[in-house]
Amino acid sequence: MSLEFKKIRATLIVRVAGEMDMLIADKMRTEIDKRIDDKTIRNLVLNLERVPFIDSSGLGVVIGRYKRITAKQGRMFIVGARPQVEKILFFSGVNRLVPMYKNEQEVINI
């Protein structure tokens, strides 16, 4: 699993590559939180284009970050989820909390 970070003004973009399960949950949580705890960051975009698999441990990471971002009055988005990942995000209701878009550009244009 690898994480790539990009900051655009108050928005942190996290590009995730790899399967999101319990093995990577802790690392993802720690790496993202230390960046979103930065006062200059308000919004979070999670790019899942290169995530072929997600289970409930991976969903836990998404929901945990959503809670953290909304606690600081920010907004969170998911972009690029593949069909099999998108299905799990819908099934679990995560899409009702975190809006989903096709790509980063769509979110930047909001």
Binding site: D21, L23, G60, I63
Partner: protein, 147 residues
């Protein structure tokens, strides 16, 4: 029902083995002429079952063993059995409720996924005795449709 194929494997209760277990079972299930979507769902339920053994059954003790048995019978039913000899589940009906978890950082969706993406789920558990999860899913329709 007679078995057409059967495999059994055991591994340490470490997170690295979750992907190993779901890939193995996914490959095994592929002989059923199922769709890629079916395989993804099978991998998800295995991931949930094995994660439960590590987190709840063994409370992250890495030296314990998890056993996975997988079989296909002549009626094209895939059966996956995931077993730990850990602490067992005190309150099974509660553990099976959607969004219930003993750990507040977790979503409590493991059993919900296992139930939703299989035809039948049986959980055999007793405090101090470990937990066995038996998941069954029929692929008969898929194979008939292809015939």
């Amino acid at each position: 029902m007679n078995l057409r194929n059967y495999a059994k494997f055991e591994f340490f209760s470490i997170p690295e083995n979750i992907a190993f277990a779901r890939s193995c079972v996914g490959s095994f299930a592929a002989q059923l002429d199922c769709t890629l979507e079916d395989i993804e769902e099978i991998k998800l339920v295995v991931s949930e079952a094995v994660s439960n053994c590590i987190i709840h059954g063994y409370e992250n003790n890495p030296t314990q063993m998890i056993t996975v048995m997988v079989s296909i019978d002549t009626a094209s039913v895939l059966e996956i059995v995931v077993e730990d000899r850990g602490k067992g589940i005190e309150d099974l009906p509660r553990a099976m409720e959607a969004a219930y978890s003993t750990d507040p950082t977790r979503m409590g969706l493991g059993f919900t996924f296992m139930k939703s993406f299989t035809d039948d789920m049986q959980v055999d558990t007793a405090p101090g005795q470990g937990t066995t999860v038996r998941l069954r899913r029929s692929f008969l329709k898929n194979e008939e449709a292809l015939a």
